[in-house]
Each structure stands twice: as structure tokens, then as C-alpha cells.
Symmetry: C2
Subunit: 480 residues, 2 copies
């Protein structure tokens, strides 16, 4: 599994698709050779990042009084069918277990594509009284969808990792507040990771099947295409009526609960992290989450090998509060530099005979490729430099993202700008009335939705498609 | 989901099965009403423990240079069929995905019952040279087996949680050393959790299908029946030949790798933890892993509610390094005591008006039900008391377990003792020659195997079944 030594150099912005697949392979994030379409193997370096992203999210959810559970993988067919719009939306994508051993199963079992229809029959048993509310449960798991579009590791696959949080409330207001809370949670996690995004209310034709409204955070990948990240669905009473989830209120009356669900995608967050921070040389990882934070590369010299390696070990032990490794492989220093740059390790410490003799280390920052000297007595500065790296990555990402948001007041302008990223346009409506206008744009772009919380509405402008009064500004884009 | 208030009191040793199912329900570990045979929901209290057990094991594996990955859930049929004995063993238990959407799949996909046949085709791509070895990868995941025996939550279910570690080595010796390392890992985790066990080499008729030898750690549940915990399989070159996993050795020759795999069961470890430490009042959890370590129960008095609750909050904030909660529900103090005893929370702090006035808390240990007074200035002692609780639970468990290991030198004696737990007996052989003798005992007991590392062999004794010279001592038992 050793990474080959050739220097990595692909223009991320010009050839994003090639860059992305090569980085996943060479940095040992994912292996795409498993042999079943749309299913991938997550390798150790990638798995470390997956676990980090999971724990960031779980910790935010726990702080906000969500509690973690685990439901079965399988969902009986009759549960899946209870909410009409939902089953229509998901049926073409469900994998079905039909046999066990040599036997045909009497009733086939769906492999969860999402777990509303697993959770909610239990909610109807668990929720009895207003005292049981709010109920805020989540699970961390794989979900499975028979994607017919082209698949791409971590971005669109038939098995992917996510969290799904399912909430039930006494009132519509509380459920809508949960949408805002989920937005805050998303913000917390993505600020930590330095992933810029916009938060949208989706057009009615693009909502989750079974929801009243769908809200979602979208980022842009280097090719200017939109990648949907977490979405939160306000379900109203659609599912509580289908699954008979009622509570006795304080006044003794029985009422259906109001629900919301939130789906942070772990695989896609990793895809965004890699794509947004990387450069032409490979990954660039924020210091806090990098599997290896500091790599020590010995620059061996004949007759001094032992001395240099011992010095490396000494430095490593002085840095024990970080994730540090010494690269003792047989490669040349240059090859080692390339590999660890490709893997995005934030700090490289080079130790040769000069360093041993002078007690002064050579340190290289991955983000800016800056070399600097650091006295052994100043080692604690590495933490600060690490944090500067993260800060710089965030800043670069934010500046790039902000430049990718354009404005267009005509179809012509939209066409000229759409390859950039998001294009804000005056638009008739994100309700059903707007569907035709969106369809008219299909060849050019999608409509991500209106910003949420809402921004100021257009005053005098006209929908750039139909020419009727524009009720809203929407964000157009090309999408994954 | 609120636990009902009636006091829990079931004789754990007399009515273990009832005790076990009721504890899982009342302490909110598992819900067994999902509606698909053999599939259960893990509730928040149980999920916290699941995560703790996972992180204990993962941390031990990481220390020993295993690296975490994640393979797809699905395994193509032709991979599953490559190792003959393996497929024969697992075929009756495999769930098959045969449809997606409305379509029949061209080749059906097995839902992993274990992942040798997912990992090893990739090992044949990843392993090229002796420099790639040892390869030690693991994953944490659910596996699925179509059990035809009666199912029981966490003990025998159709979906269960585990870790599977798959290792490849240059030599047989290294692979056999891995078995010893896995034994050490098991020991580390179970010493921490206070779960006593014996480590066995399994009889040839009870080995993992496809393995050369199987080793396993077994514990006893309160009914004296054996529960298999982690097993390690020495696979020799069986799979490397089936999957063509070869490496170029330092001398340039191509060789097949030697393999082992290790399977720590997370669900069953939780079952063992619950069953072994619990008492007639419910769970008793070790201090280090309890979801709530200290529960504060306010004993409210009219006109002093606010004062008492504020004092509770003050104590809680002084205990912020622990997982502490205040039970502010509307139940009576007596009901609260019952619930938290049932949930096994190690320490209860009772705070009423007396406590507020005297700055002296009432503390109750869950394990021994001892009450004690503790000055507010001595609060840090709670940690020490917590650790004593764990120590005491471990000691009780160990003493009980040791008493359950008997010796029998005749069939009669075996029959008299078998309800106790393990019965050590002189036996002809755990190779194929011994199979008939084991089958003759089938109605009475199973043969867990010989202790590993091996204990002293019998000198003059005879197999208690066939009367031939006893080559080994084996441990007989009734099994889950």
C-alpha cells in the first residue's frame, strides 16, 4: 500500500475531477477497486478523518441534548410504504434483501436508504405524553441507495456514511426552531473544519420526499459545482399521521407531534474538506484533525545515521502531545517530502547532521511551503504554527468561496457566470409556481433555493426566466 | 420512554433469563419490539456503553499497530465462494440482496456475515513485497447472520456489532504470535471491564470454517452457561491460496502469506458486562464506563425547593469532571432511587435540607448499598470511592467465576457438576479422533476446548467417555 514516489502535481482548478480521484488514491483515503459499482473501501488515513468528523458532530449533537441510538439496518416493506410521498421518492433507490441462506424470505427487507420509517413506528410506542417531548435521537451509520447516476467516491456512492437525527415536538414552532438549531450545529462543525457554505431553503420541487420544507447547507467544489452537505427537513405532521405518533398534552387532549430530521453527511464532508483545502501538490489538512500532525524526516548522512535517528526520537518524545511520526522508510528525503506533502501533513521537521549539531530544527509549513528555523528550546511554538496553518486554510477557503458568488439580472448574464459557482438571480417563486421556470433552466443550472434565514426580497426586479415579478432571490448553480 | 417506577427485584441466579430481558428493557439498554425477528434497537443508555466498549478495543488495537478501515457491507457472491470450507460454513446464514428498486440484480450481493472474503481480494492487490508485511487492518461494524436458533438481544441476534481484525504475515510463527497478542488485547479490555474468562483452543469440530485452528475467550453467564467472546482464528495459508495473496520475500521468491483474524464482539461484551456485574436490583456498572457516574437526587421540602435545587446545581458544578446528573423529574425520591439503582449508576448523592444546612452530603454506593456521609470539602473522595466500586465488582465477579470451574473424573461426576459452569475433564483428543466422544456428550454439554496456552497434560487418566488414554484436559459446559 506504499504510496509511489513520483511527485504529485495536478492543477486542482483546471482538472478537478482528475485531481480528486488521484488524491484519494495516492493519499490513501479511498480505494475504488472493490469491484461492486458505487461501493468503496475507506483506507486508514481516510478512516481517521471519518472518525474525527463523526466525533465533532456527535459532540455538538450531544451538547444540544440529542441522544444516540442504533436502529437495525433492515426496514420491513410495509413500514417503508406508510408515508406515500416518501415511498414514491425512495422506492427506485432501495436495495432489497429477498433471500437468507437458500430460502426466499416471506417478506422482503429494505436496506435503509434513510430511517424515518424505522424510527417512527417506535416513536409511536415511545411517545405517550407531553413529558416525553421533545424526543431528539440520532444514529451514526451507513445508508444505501441504488444510485443510477455516475458514482464518485465520498461524493455519490451506493453506500455512504452519515448521521441522521430524528426529532419530535409538541408544536410547529419548536420543530422550526430545531431547523435553526441544526443550522447552528452545521455552522459549528464547518467553522471548525473551515468549510464555507450557504444555507438554503430548497424549492418545493427539490424537497425531501415526505417533508413540508427542506433546508440544506451547500458548498462549492473547486470546479464551481455545488455539493449538498447536511439537510434538515421540516416534516410537519406528515409522518406522525402516517405512523400514528400522538401525545397527550397537558390539557388531556391527544395531538400528533411535529417532526424534523437532520442528516449530516460524513462521507461528503470529507470530500469537501479534501477538495476545498487541497492544492496542486495534494491534501492540506487542518492541524487539529490531521492523522499525523508533524512528520519528522531524518536527513541521514553516512556514519552519523545512529546519531541522527536518536535525535529524531528525542524530538518525537518532546512532541508527544501531538500525533508525530518519524519516516524511517528507505526512500530518499525528496521522495518523503513529496509523500507527506501529498498527504497534507501540516508540519514537517527535517533533521540532519546540521540540526543535531546546532540544536536548531528546520520546519516546513505545508500550507505555504515556508521553511523556517526553530531552536529546540522553542518547540512549543509548533502548536501555534499549527493553528496558524488552520487559520490560513480557512481564510483561503473563505476568500475563494466569496469570489464564487455572483449576481445576474438577465439570462445572458446567468449563462456567462454559471461556471463560476453560485449566481444569485431574481426569480418568480420557489413554490410550485416557479417549477416551470426552473425546468426551463435545466440545461444550464439548478436552483439551490433561497437563503435561510431569508435575505431582503427583490423590490422592482423581474424573474429572469418568465419576466413576472420576482418574489425572491434564488441561487443558481451547477450541481453534483 | 420513562422507566416505570415499580421496584425491580428478580433473582438473577434463579431466573437469569427473565432477569436479563427485564433489565435490558427497564434500564433502557435495548428495545426488542422492532418487529423483525432477531433485530433490536440499541437505546441511548446502551449505546453509550457500546461506544465505550468500542473505544476501549480500538485504542488497544491502535496501540498494537492495527489500522482502522471500512469495507463495504456487501460481498459479491463469487468472492464469498472462493474458500470452499468457509462458504459451506456460512452459506446457510447469509442474507442476500437480490433486488434494487424494481429491478432484479444481475448478481446478488451477500450482506457481510464476516469479511474475510471482502478483505482478502484487496490484500492480494495491496500486498506485493515483504515490506508491506505485516498488514494489520480492522473494521468496526455490524455483521448479519440468519440465525435459526432462538435469538436473544445482544447475545444471539441477526445483526450484531463487532470488530474484525485481519492480519497477514510472512511466517507461520508471526501469525501464531498474533494469536497471543490478541489474547493479550482481550485480557486488557476484560480486565478493565471486570469480565472473567478462560482462553481456549477449540476442538477441530468447532473451529471457524476456513481456519486451521480457532482460539476463543469464553465467559460464564449467571445461569452457568458459556458465552463465547472474542475468537482468533489462525488461517494458515488457506485463504491466501484461495485469494492469491503472495509477497516477494527478501530473497526474491514469491510466497503465500500466513493469516489470522480476530473478532471482538461488542454486543456480547455488553451482554456479559450487564449479566456478570448486575444484582437482583438491576445493573451495577463500573465507575469508569457508566453513562452517568453520579446521580444527584434532591429530597425536596416545601418552601425550600429553590434552595435545595440550587445547592444541587452547586454540587454538580463542583463535580464537573464526572458525568453527573440531577434527577429533577416529578417522581418521589424513593422512585428515583429505584430507577438509578436499576440503571446501575455507581454513586448516588442525596441532597435535602439537612445536607444544605450541614454541608454534609449523603452518598450511597450502588454495589454494596452502603450509605455514608461526606463533607463538601471531601468531594474529591468520590473518585476514589468510584474506583473502589469498580474494584469490588471485579472481585465479586472473579470470585464467582472461579467457583464455577469444577473437575470431574467420571461421566457421573460430569453430569452432577455441569449445571455449575465449566467442568474440567480428562479427554481423548480435541482433534478429529475426539469428535465421537464429544458427540456422545451432546445431550449434556459442549466441549469448549483445551486451555491456551496449554496447561499440563494428564498423565495416567482416561477419557471419561471412551476410556482410552486421555491426551488432554478439556472444559465441558453448557453453551449459548
Amino acid at each position: 500500500m506504499e504510496t509511489k514516489e513520483k511527485e504529485f502535481n495536478i492543477d486542482k482548478f483546471q482538472n478537478f475531477s482528475e485531481w480528486y480521484l488521484k488524491v484519494l488514491e495516492k493519499a490513501e483515503i479511498v480505494d475504488d477497486r472493490y469491484g461492486v459499482k458505487g461501493f468503496y473501501i475507506i483506507l486508514p488515513f481516510g478512516m481517521f478523518l471519518v472518525d474525527k468528523i463523526y466525533s465533532l458532530w456527535e459532540s455538538e449533537l450531544n451538547k444540544k441534548n440529542h441522544r444516540k441510538v442504533l436502529f437495525p439496518l433492515v426496514i420491513p416493506e410495509n413500514n417503508l410504504e406508510k408515508e406515500e410521498e416518501h415511498v414514491e421518492g425512495f422506492k427506485p433507490e432501495i436495495f432489497w434483501i429477498c433471500e437468507a441462506g437458500e430460502k426466499k424470505l416471506e417478506r422482503k427487507l429494505g436496506v435503509r436508504p434513510t430511517s424515518e420509517t424505522a424510527f417512527y413506528p417506535m416513536y409511536s410506542l415511545w411517545i405517550r405524553s407531553y413529558k416525553d417531548l421533545p424526543m431528539k435521537l440520532y444514529q451514526s451509520c451507513s445508508v444505501f441507495r441504488y444510485e443510477t447516476k455516475a458514482t464518485k467516491p465520498l461524493i455519490r456512492s451506493r453506500e455512504f456514511l452519515w448521521i441522521e437525527a430524528h426529532c419530535a415536538f409538541k408544536s410547529e414552532e419548536e420543530a422550526l426552531n430545531q431547523v435553526l438549531e441544526d443550522m447552528e450545529t452545521t455552522k459549528k462543525v464547518y467553522e471548525f473544519l473551515g468549510i464555507p457554505f450557504l444555507f438554503f431553503k430548497r424549492p418545493s420541487w427539490d424537497k425531501f420526499k415526505g417533508a413540508v420544507f427542506t433546508f440544506a447547507a451547500d458548498t462549492l467544489l473547486p470546479d464551481g459545482k455545488r455539493l449538498q452537505l447536511p439537510s434538515t427537513h421540516y416534516l410537519g405532521q406528515n409522518f406522525s399521521k402516517a405512523f400514528d405518533i400522538k401525545f397527550e398534552d397537558i390539557d388531556g387532549t391527544k395531538k400528533y407531534v411535529y417532526q424534523s430530521c437532520y442528516g449530516p453527511p460524513i462521507s461528503r464532508t470529507l470530500a469537501a474538506l479534501i477538495s476545498i483545502h487541497g492544492d496542486n501538490k495534494g491534501l492540506r489538512l487542518p492541524f487539529e484533525i490531521s492523522p499525523i500532525q508533524i512528520i519528522i524526516v531524518p536527513i541521514l548522512k553516512k556514519n552519523y545515521e545512529k546519531e541522527i535517528l536518536e535525535y529524531c526520537e528525542k524530538i518525537k518524545s518532546m512532541l508527544s502531545k501531538f500525533r508525530v511520526e518519524i519516516d524511517k522508510s528507505e526512500k530518499t528525503p525528496g521522495e518523503k517530502f513529496n509523500i507527506w506533502e501529498l498527504k497534507g501533513v501540516p508540519l514537517r521537521v527535517e533533521i540532519g547532521l546540521n540540526e543535531v549539531k546546532s540544536d536548531e530544527l528546520t520546519v516546513v509549513r505545508r500550507d505555504k511551503k515556508e521553511r523556517m528555523k526553530l531552536k529546540i528550546s522553542e518547540l512549543e511554538k509548533l502548536e501555534e504554527i499549527g493553528m496558524q496553518i488552520t487559520k490560513n486554510l480557512k481564510k483561503e477557503a473563505r476568500e475563494w468561496f466569496n469570489k464564487k458568488i455572483k449576481y445576474a439580472s438577465s439570462l445572458e448574464e446567468l449563462k456567462n457566470n454559471i461556471k463560476e459557482g453560485f449566481v444569485k438571480i431574481p426569480f418568480c417563486s420557489i413554490g410550485e409556481e416557479g417549477r416551470e421556470c426552473a425546468e426551463a433552466l435545466e440545461e444550464i443550472c439548478d436552483i439551490a433555493g433561497t437563503l435561510y434565514p431569508e435575505e431582503e426580497k427583490p423590490r422592482e426586479e423581474k424573474c429572469i426566466v418568465c419576466g413576472k415579478k420576482a418574489e425572491v432571490y434564488v441561487y443558481a448553480c451547477r450541481s453534483y
